[in-house]
Amino acid sequence: MSSEALAHDHAAEHAPPRGLMRWITTTNHKDIGTMYLVLSLIMFFVGGAMAMVIRAQLFRPDMQLVTPLFFNQMATMHGLIMIFGAVMPAFVGLANWMIPMMIGAPDMALPRLNNWSFWILPFAFTLLLITLFLPGGGPQGGWTMYVPFNLQLGYGFPFMIFAIHLMGISSVMGAINIIATILNMRAPGMTLMKMPLFVWAWLITAYLLIAVMPVLAGGVTMQLLDRYFGTHFFSVAGGGSPILWEHVFWFFGHPEVYIMILPAFGIISEIIPTFSRKPIFGYRSMVYALASIAFLSFIVWGHHMFVVGMPVAADLFFMFSTMLIAVPTGIKIFNWVATMWKGSLTFETPMLFAVAFIVLFTIGGFSGVMLALVPADFQYNNSYFVVAHFHYVLVTGAVFAIMAAVYYWLPKWTGHMYNEFWGKTHFWLSAIAANVLYFPMHFLGLAGMPRRIPDYPLQFANLNMVVSIGGFVFGLSQLIFVAVIFSCVRAGKKAEARAWEGARGLEWTLPSPAPYHSFSTPPEIA
C-alpha cells in the first residue's frame, strides 16, 4: 500500500462524529482552534456591547442612561471580557490552528488536554456574566480588582473569583500544550532558529502564561480568604496591606499585557514579509527582542503603582526598567520597517491591518514611554491618557493583529478567498474610527478627566462626544468583519494552497482548506 493510501485510510478512520458531539468530543487542533476563535468573536461582541453602553452614557454630560452602579459594572466587565474573553482566546485559537501546520506536525501534542482547556472557558464566562443578575451586581472595581473595594461586592464576588480561576486553569493548560507541541513535534530539520516567528512568539508567551496565571489565581484566592475565612492579607488592621494586592495583581498584570502583544508581534512578523515579498529583516534579533521583552516584563510591574506611595528607590527602579523595554520594542519596529524597505509591497487587507498595527502600536509605545516618567505619571495616572495608551496597544495593536491574522489565514481555513472589497472597507472604517475614538482620549486625560467615571464636568463635553461617535462607528464596523467571515466560510473564490504568492512557511504547502489532520508524514525542511 502506498503511503498516500495509508494516510487516506487513517483519515477515514478518524472522521469526526457529526453534529454537536463532534464539537464537544473533538481533540482535533483545527476544530478546537475554530471553537476558540468563535468564542473570542462572541466575547468581542459581548464586551463591545458593554463599550457601547459606556460610550452612550458618556455621550453628553447629562446622560442618565444607566445608573453609576451599572456603569461601573459595565466598565469592569468590559475590561475583563475583552482581555480574558476576546484577546486571549483569539490568540490561543490562532495557536491551535497554525502552530501544528507551521512546524509540520499532525496535531497538538496533548489533544485531550486541548479539548478541556477550551471547554472550561464557556463555563468561566457564564459564571462571570451571571454576576450581572445577582444581588449586588457584578464586579465594579475595574479589571484591576483593587481591595478593599473589591471585597465590598455583593453575591457576584465569589462567582468572579471562580471565573478567574477557571480562565487561569484553561490558560495554563493551553500554554503547557503549546510548549509541549513546539518542543516535541517539530518536523525533522526544523531547528528552533528556523521556526516561524509566530511560533517563537507563542513559545515565549506560553512560558509567561505559566509563570503569571498562578500568581493571579493565588491573589484572588487570598481575596476569597479575606472575605469568607477571616484572613487579613489585605487589611492593615490585621497586619496585611491593600498594597500587597496591587503588587500581586501587577506582577501578573504587566506580563499579562505582553501575553496579549507578543503573539501579535509574531503575526505581524509573518504578514509583513509575505506582502513585502522579502524575508523578515533581522530574524535573530527579532527572537532576542521577544525574549528580552519577556524577561523585562517581570521587573516593571511597579510602573502601574507610582502614585501608590512606593519608596523613591522603587519608583526609580521601575522607571528605568520600564524605559528599557522601549529598546527591544524599538528593535522590532525598526526590523519591520526594514523588512518593508525596498520590498515589493501590495496592500491586501491583512497587510493594511499589519501596517496600521506598526504605526498605531508605535503611538501606544510613545505614550508608554511618557507614562514611565514617574513625575509625569503623577499627572497621567488613571486619567484618560492611560485609557488612550492601552487602547492604542491593545485595540489598534493586539486586536488589529488578530484581524490581520484572520484575513491572512482565512483562505487556508476555509478554502475560499474572502471578499477583498469588504475586507478593505472594514479596515478603513476601523482604522479611522479607532483614531477618532482613541486619539482625543489623550487630550481628555491631559486636561484632567479621570477614568472610570459615569459623568463629567462640562469642559470635557466636546471631546467626549467625538470619542463616542468614533466608538459607535468602530462598533458598527465590526459587523462587516462578521459578514466577511461568514460569507467566506460559505462560498468565495477558490483559494490555492499558497493563497498569497509571497507567503513562505509550511502551512502554505498544505492544500486549502487544510486537511483535517495536518502533516501525517513530516514534511521536508529545506
Binding site: 461601573n72 529583516f281 524605559m323 526594514a338 520590498g343 514611554v369 511618557m370 488613571n382 484632567g448 469642559q459
Partner: protein, 286 residues
C-alpha cells in the same frame, strides 16, 4: 510621467507630515482643554516641562519612523518597485537602532529622576494638612489649628445628578467640580499633605498642583505642594471607589497667608465643639 508621480507622492508625504505635526502640535498651543495645565506650583511647572520635553521627543521619533514607513508604502509598492530587494540583515543598522534609543531614553530619564527626588523632599514644610478619602467625600484636617473640614459634592451639582432632577447640569456652575466646603491653604508656604483612605482606596488629584496621591486605608502617604498664586483649584478622586466615585470632587482655595489665618479664625469661631467632627450623613440619593 514617473517624475510627476514621484513629485505628487512626495508632496503628499510632506503634506501628511505637516498635517500630523499640526494635529500633534495642537495640544501644545491650545490651553488646558487639550494639554496638561501649567499649574500653580513649582512642581507642576517642572512636570509640565518634563511632559512637553517627552512629548516633543516622541513627536520627533514619530516623524522619522512614520516618515520611513510612509516612504516605503508609497515608493516601494509593487507598481513602482516590482523587484524586491533580498537583504535581510545589516549589523551596523541593527547596532545603531539598539544603542541610539538607549541614549534618547537617558535624556528623558535624567530630568525625570531629578524631579522625582525634588518631589519627594518633604523637609522644611510649614504646614501639614491631613487628607482622608471616604465613600464619597473628603476630610481635611489641620492638626495645628484643630480644624476638621468635611467636603462633599455641592448641593447644586447634587441636585443636577439626581434622577428626575429639575436642574440641568448645564445650569450648574462647575458641575461636578464644586463642593460644600473647600480645602483652604495659604499661598507661598510649603505644605505637607498626608493622605489616607477611611474605607477603601481613593486618590487625591488636583491637576493644577501637578500631582495625585493614593489614599490607602491604614497607610499614610506624604507629598508636598507650594501654591504660588491665590485662586480656586479643582480636581477629583482618581481611584475607583464605588458608585459615588464620579461624585467626590476636590476644591482647593489658596489664599495669601493673612487671609488664610483669617479663614482659620472664622472657621474656629463658627464651627465650635464636637459638632465639627461629625461625619455628615451621606447625601447621594441616586
Amino acid at each position: 510621467m514617473v517624475t510627476r508621480r514621484r513629485a505628487i507622492a512626495g508632496s503628499l508625504t510632506i503634506l501628511g507630515a505637516l498635517l500630523s505635526a499640526a494635529v500633534l502640535a495642537a495640544p501644545a498651543r491650545a490651553a488646558s482643554e487639550y494639554n496638561l495645565p501649567y499649574g500653580v506650583t513649582p512642581i507642576s511647572h517642572a512636570v509640565y516641562r518634563l511632559h512637553m520635553l517627552a512629548f516633543w521627543m516622541m513627536c520627533g521619533i514619530g516623524v522619522i519612523v512614520f516618515g520611513l514607513i510612509f516612504y516605503s508604502v508609497i515608493f516601494h509598492r509593487r507598481s513602482r518597485h516590482p523587484v524586491p530587494a533580498k537583504f535581510h540583515e545589516n549589523t551596523v543598522f541593527e547596532i545603531v537602532w539598539t544603542i541610539l534609543p538607549f541614549f534618547i531614553l537617558v535624556i528623558l530619564a535624567v530630568p525625570a529622576a531629578r524631579l522625582l527626588l525634588r518631589m519627594e523632599n518633604l523637609r522644611h514644610s510649614q504646614l501639614t494638612v491631613r487628607i482622608t478619602g471616604y465613600q464619597w467625600l473628603w476630610r481635611y484636617t489641620y492638626p495645628r489649628y484643630g480644624i476638621n473640614v468635611y467636603s462633599r459634592l455641592s448641593n447644586s451639582s447634587l441636585a443636577a445628578v439626581q434622577y428626575g432632577r429639575h436642574l440641568s447640569p448645564y445650569a450648574v456652575p462647575h458641575y461636578l467640580r464644586s463642593v460644600t466646603h473647600p480645602m483652604v491653604v495659604p499661598t507661598g508656604e510649603k505644605i505637607r499633605l498626608l493622605v489616607t483612605g477611611g474605607d477603601v482606596i481613593h486618590a487625591w488629584w488636583v491637576p493644577a498642583f501637578g500631582l495625585q496621591i493614593d489614599g490607602n486605608p491604614g497607610l499614610i502617604n506624604a507629598m508636598w505642594i507650594k501654591v504660588l498664586k491665590p485662586g480656586v483649584y479643582r480636581g477629583a478622586c482618581n481611584q475607583i471607589c464605588g458608585w459615588g466615585h464620579g461624585y467626590m470632587p476636590i476644591v482647593v482655595v489658596a489664599k495669601p497667608p493673612k487671609q488664610f489665618l483669617a479663614w482659620v479664625h472664622h472657621w474656629r469661631a463658627t464651627h465650635q465643639g464636637p459638632g465639627q467632627g461629625d461625619f455628615p450623613p451621606h447625601p447621594l440619593g441616586l
